[in-house]
Subunit: 471 residues, 2 copies
């Protein structure tokens, strides 16, 4: 007997009347007075469960079927028929129900069929993918990942797995975790009493990366179009709904490109991804729009349908200063925009995604290209209604002398040491340097934007936050 | 003027006679006595460079074109014409050559056009993708990654990003790196003088993962078919050509599956990947077969064309004992097979991939399913001619009582503590447990097998090994 996924059956890839077998977990059981049981079975392949209509004539009806509860694993065999109930195209007239695994003590099954808070479900992260919401998040996450790889692969980008372990702490994107195999109780020390990292595994102090950007630039200047898509880390004591200690980031980098090309890529990329999710996971997206955030679908459609507005930072400051709105944080040229400013611009002023470009150099990293005004750098942030910043990027400084001066200014007093540590990164400006640009996209924040979920801890299978690395 | 990748032009996607622009890096320049220069330009999109024929009539011919050397970045504009030379279908009759970036001191350019050893190129890992070999490795790596994601996505697998940071050290796959933000010089200590990890970032001692398997099983028992594809870590002081401290691993996991299903998946998966690389990167594979290992293509074809032979461990031991061959390590039932044994079986005895199944329980992990003989577990290794073990997998123990006994036996004296730490993993056997199975595939070893490269340090962009985490 052919085994099918519930997704294939609900999509109609098997004709009614066929004998089929499905395998999955019971979501619910209902018994009719007429001596028939209705099992809803899910197998993770789509949002909807498949209903199995189980007649009492089955040998194990009394002994087993009537004891089934949410979470039990079963193999159901029978005839696929068109469903007369509404909401479902097909159901199975069961001729056999094999129970594969029972649930110990259904009363205490941690994800029994009822409403659970997302906070509670984080404490049972190993079981939460069995719920409607986390099954849907998992499928959308996969669809989004798949669309990311497909987008880049079709456009001749190479996926570069930049290193997680790094001896470089000069990027400055955030606090770093130290990685070591030294004995913590009696670490080797130098004559001066400092830790002797030359005795550590890598012969020097080593950290978890905060970004693959610097490394991926080396590949950009050989392969033309590249991207990273991997885990990155921040050792920041942030307890907000937007911060994880471990999260995934996408970082494309393109050669022979300036900030406008970078903005073009960001806009095209986001629109492609949103279309892919709406097309490929309409079942899960309908759930998010119904239960999580009623704007979940419409705001993606809004991004797809509208041209992103591009605006200089300087213009944005003027708009914010003259808009008559009272902000918690005052706006002044030279100060970074706050979330309230970003959301005003995207949601109220424009009503569509906005790309703010050319920020003051003093609030941006040394590797961003200095503009001719000598005051701003070719940086951009993409702001989306409903979330604020979703992408941050820049054209990179491709002139060695200008970058060296910026390193000296940024790391005042230790410029030489930083330049020495960055010898290889500076080499890229010595040998066939070209204008190039890229951006970073936080994958879990994007997933939250798509699903309407509010906490990034619910966008990654096993979230890591200060004080929490269970499972 | 339309900008094209060199790959598109060489594939004939633009008709001869078209005006085109390419952007890339000079690989070589040759000047004819007739006052014409030939530039070979690469842009990373395919193995071959495109030849630009540059007439001396260009304004910057004397001043710039005649000074171009390997590594300079250029934008070349001209007419695409069919090439009269052999080996190339097309070339460009240049009407303009813009020099974008020069090479500082061509005499010392680290990857100037000559033969370099792979050892040397590891010291300039930021520039080695500009060489023929590493450009090819990069493209094959991307093609292989892409095929992996496509294979799984088309078969309804979900990609699960299992955590890199873990507080669990009980899997036992290898030595682990500690991750901490504690002050190494004055770490907080408990009354007994031990390090007080309750004060560390995650409130407990934390490590880098050695495998995503345990975590991905939780998702398998909700989504049916899942896989991981991400970085994993080993803090082992191994200086061999097959070991990295940081490497990527692919780990599929399937529900309602036994060891035979697992073997089916491994065989189908490898054949799919090898076909994809041979089809999509024939240019790079031709290079590997010509320059790196003359078997590079034929041995992949051999894997594709042959059915994998399945053999019990017990049978393999008998064959090895009776084959008349002298091995360095003696063979006895209950002892793990060595590389020399594995290669004999795959290369000499069978001449095709072999799957060895059902190993003695005492040499395998606690989570592998105990067979009815009570002596072996449902584990498998896939051995390929020319490399030996390429995949290791197992059916997982799905019976809680049996697994608990195995944990007690494996971690003698600390079984209770391990069971407590594995509470969530054991939960999976309490709630709708099903037979399930999976395997692990080291991505860099697979890439070496495909390309014929011999050191895994050359299969990852920036390799991390004991004493080495530069860049």
């Amino acid at each position: 007997m052919a085994i099918h996924s519930i997704n294939q059956l609900l999509l109609g890839s098997v004709s009614a009347g066929s004998e089929v077998t499905i395998r999955g977990w019971v979501r619910s059981r209902r018994d009719s007075k007429a001596g028939i049981s209705f099992l809803h079975v899910h197998d993770g392949t789509c949002f909807n469960p498949l209903q199995a209509v189980v007649p009492s004539e089955l040998d194990n009806y009394e002994e087993e079927v009537l004891k089934l509860c949410a979470g039990c694993s079963v193999v159901v065999t029978g005839t696929l028929v068109e469903s007369e109930g509404k909401g479902q195209a097909y159901e199975i007239q069961a001729t056999g129900v094999d129970v594969v695994g029972w649930v110990d003590d259904p009363e205490t099954y941690p994800v029994a069929k009822k409403r659970h808070t997302f906070e509670y479900l984080r404490t049972v992260a190993h079981l939460r993918p069995r719920t409607n919401a986390f099954g849907a998040i998992t499928r959308v996450r996969t669809t989004l990942s798949s669309a990311i790889h497909r987008y880049f692969h079709e456009r001749e980008f190479n996926w570069i797995n930049t290193p997680i372990l790094t001896s470089s702490d000069c990027e400055g994107a955030g606090e770093m975790f130290r990685v070591s195999t030294l004995d913590m109780v009696n670490p080797p020390k130098t004559d001066k009493g400092a830790i002797d990292y030359s005795k550590d595994f890598f012969g020097q102090e080593t950290f978890l990366t905060v970004s693959g950007q610097l490394n991926v630039e080396a590949y950009c200047l050989a392969m033309s179009k590249v991207y990273t898509f991997g885990p990155t880390f921040r050792a920041e004591n942030s307890h907000t709904s937007r911060h994880l200690a471990e999260f995934w980031m996408v970082e494309p980098e393109i050669a022979f490109a300036d900030l406008d090309d970078d903005a073009d890529l960001a806009e095209d990329f986001l629109k492609y991804l949103f279309k892919a999710v709406l097309n490929e996971r309409s079942d899960d997206m309908a759930f998010f729009a119904e239960r999580i955030n009623k704007e979940a679908i419409t705001r993606l459609q809004n991004v797809i349908d509208n041209q992103f507005v591009r605006m200089d930072y300087t213009e944005a400051v003027t708009i914010l200063q003259n808009c008559g709105k009272k902000f918690e944080y005052p706006v002044a040229w030279g100060v970074d925009l706050q979330s309230e400013h970003e959301r005003f611009l995207a949601e109220e002023y424009v009503g569509a995604p906005v790309i703010i470009m050319n920020y003051p150099k003093d609030i941006k990293a040394f590797y961003m290209r200095l503009n001719d005004d000598n005051k701003t750098v070719a940086a951009m942030d993409v702001l989306a209604p409903g979330i604020g910043e979703i992408i941050g990027g820049s054209q990179r400084e491709d002139r060695l002398d200008v970058m060296d001066a910026r390193i000296d200014a940024t790391f005042s007093g230790s410029g030489e040491a930083h330049k020495e540590a960055l010898w290889w990164y500076r080499d890229l400006r010595r040998y066939g340097s070209v204008p190039h640009a890229g951006f970073g996209l936080g994958f879990e924040r994007l997933l939250n934007y798509i699903t309407g979920m509010e906490n990034v801890r619910d966008a990654i299978p096993f979230p890591r936050t200060p004080g929490n690395a269970p499972f």
